[in-house]
């Protein structure tokens, strides 16, 4: 057991916990209202949004899963870099429209928007379910990230007792999320991002120095893993593009966007967030550094232990503690935002829609707080009772991408045009969900599907194939349904709503 590292971790965790509870008083609002608890009132400016989105989007996936893939599979794992390069131009164009229409109509979730735009609670339900479904394995992945770190420091193991440290961390997280809502992860994100920047910059200076420079590191990588083979081009491109199209459809990303206080804030962040992409690229390279340092994969966590093991082997114990805290807190922040976002979805688009149409704002907020607890218990149960899932958690996350990408036509096309028919979107969504899940299942829940149609062979991300099927069905059925005059439903939004800017009133 690395006692020094453990002590450092406990101290940092205690500080973060204190912040979590205190944050309820930050830019104080009425926590009995959903948009105060779940969107922090929508008053975050450029800097806070930058920290919040950075803390929200760069998760255990970035710190553990991506370097693990580079460690075990080589160049293909670097797809995360073009992925984050392609995501921000998209954010710049699309998200201000979603922000404007949501602010105009008081939408808290993407499904709220869908309901208003298409006058269809069924389509909104489909969007809400996709969001909740896709986020569950994503939260579980955060827990795996924390577990890997706990195991590396020498505590934690199998069985209920072994999971105790994880459970304690999670109960505390649940408590301050319950009391402070989105303000808690927003404030903790400041600490998280600072720790991550310090650790990564230290890592990419200290570790190559110890290993004899970048030349030595890349020389240690087998030649066939160092660059892509032509057969991998399709997978590399579609993993990057599919992930980029999917990222800002996740409920937790949208929650981060909607909590900002203006279109300008979102656009500026699209320009400044690539600073984290640079970090992500460096973190990906840690996979090769682990290879060069001769790190062997762990029997329980496989390649996912590569980065923690590398830190253990190269850093002094106290700094290992800082690094592990950065990873663990880096997983807790997004886990909290994901729980809040799915709670918002459940409350707005399932509870109020189907169970309590007359729910008061206070009942709504209370339900969301309870739902955030249920989501966390669910994710925790996933880890405790399915211990084998931790080896596969990365693939479940890519399955989350398969599901969330199917909401793209409804949400993103819908931000620009009402031409697509609501039933066409619903059926297209169903086709995408079913075909995507089937493709992923046929490959034992790995991300790449080898498609062969009439002599055409291309291996690509199954989310992307499912998305193409979804769009094809949506377009074809929209043509038919629009021509036959099937009821289109009323559109509760106006063209000007998508460009409305309230920042002049609220941010001054």
């Amino acid at each position: 057991m690395n006692v020094t590292a453990l002590v450092v971790m406990i101290i940092l965790f205690a500080i973060v916990t204190g912040l979590g509870f205190v944050s309820a008083r930050w830019r104080r609002g009425d926590m009995n209202l959903l948009h105060e608890w779940g969107l922090a009132g929508g008053r975050f400016g450029t800097a806070v949004t930058w920290f919040l989105l950075g803390g929200d989007l760069y998760t255990a996936y970035t710190f553990i899963a991506v370097p693990a893939l580079v460690f075990s599979a080589g160049a293909i794992g670097f797809f995360a870099v073009p992925y984050t390069i392609m995501v921000y131009p998209l954010v710049f164009l699309i998200m201000p429209r979603l922000w404007s229409v949501s602010r105009t109509h008081g939408y808290v979730t993407p499904a709220d928007f869908v309901r208003g735009r298409y006058d269809s609670s069924t389509l909104a339900l489909a969007i809400a379910i996709s969001g909740i479904l896709a986020t569950m394995p994503y939260i579980a992945l955060q827990l795996v990230g924390i577990q890997v770190v706990l195991a590396a420091v020498g505590i934690g193991g199998s069985g209920l007792l072994g999971e105790l440290p994880l459970v304690i961390a999670f109960v505390i997280l649940a408590a301050y999320t319950y009391s402070s809502g989105l303000r808690a992860p927003a404030m903790i994100a400041l600490v998280k991002d600072a720790l991550i920047f310090i650790v990564v910059i230290a890592a990419v200076i200290i570790i190559p120095a110890k290993l004899g420079g970048y030349g030595r590191i890349f020389a240690a990588v087998p030649k066939e893993k160092l660059i892509l083979t032509p057969a991998q081009y399709g997978s590399y491109a579609t993993l990057a593009l599919g992930s980029a199209l999917a990222l800002f459809l996740y409920p937790h990303s949208i929650t981060g966007v909607l909590s900002s206080d203006g279109r300008r804030v979102i656009k500026r962040n699209a320009a400044f967030l690539p600073a984290y992409s640079f970090l992500l690229g460096l973190i990906a390279l840690l996979g090769y550094m682990a290879l060069a340092a001769g790190i062997k994969p762990d029997p329980i966590y496989g390649a996912q232990s590569a980065v923690p093991a590398l830190f253990n082997a190269t850093f002094p114990p106290w700094f290992t503690g800082v690094a592990f805290s950065a990873i663990a807190i880096g997983a807790l922040v997004p886990a909290a935002i994901m729980a809040i976002a799915t709670a918002n979805l459940f409350t707005r688009n399932i509870y109020r829609e189907y169970f309590r149409p007359n729910a008061t704002p206070h009942q709504e907020a209370r339900m969301a707080k309870l739902a955030s607890l249920v989501v966390k218990v669910g994710a925790l149960a996933f880890i405790v009772f399915l211990p084998d899932a931790r080896q596969q958690a990365i693939n479940f996350q890519l399955l989350g991408g398969v599901w969330i990408l199917q909401t793209f036509p409804t949400i993103v096309f819908g931000l620009y045009t009402r031409w697509f028919h609501r039933w066409a979107l619903l059926i297209g969504w169903a086709v995408g969900m079913i075909s995507g899940t089937a493709m992923a299942a046929s490959q034992h829940f790995t991300a790449i599907f080898p498609l062969s149609i009439a002599g055409f062979h291309l291996s690509a991300y199954s989310a992307f194939y499912a998305f193409l099927a979804n769009v094809a069905v949506t377009v074809a059925l929209s043509l038919i349904l629009n021509a036959t005059g099937v009821a289109r439903g009323a559109d509760h939004t106006r063209a000007s709503d998508y460009l409305a800017d309230f920042s002049a009133q609220s941010s001054a």
Binding site: V81, P82, P89, L226
Partner: protein
């Protein structure tokens, strides 16, 4: 706005040109999706193969492109979305 056009015909030209500035956002997509153009080891920089440092370079280019589009919108709101909004949504 109309008065500006009459006083300074050059401004109209500038504005028409600015209209297409958001198309720059496509550039990073071309850069990273054209995989065969960069999947090679040489030329190396500080021992880092081309494949890796080239993609790092695109993170920077992507950010610069976004800043350029943002500044162009801010400087000439009439040609872009930001301004349509100020006239249409009031």
């Amino acid at each position: 706005m109309e008065i500006d056009h009459e006083r300074d015909p050059g401004a109209t030209r500038t504005r028409a040109w600015r209209r297409y500035v958001p198309l720059l956002l496509i550039v990073p997509y071309i850069g990273v999706l054209w995989i065969s153009s960069y999947t090679s080891i040489a030329p190396e920089v500080w021992g880092i193969p081309f494949f890796y440092w080239y993609q790092f370079l695109w993170i920077g280019i992507g950010a610069v492109v976004t800043v350029v589009v943002y500044l162009a919108e801010k400087a000439a709101p009439a040609a872009t979305e930001t301004a349509q909004q100020s006239s249409s949504s009031k």
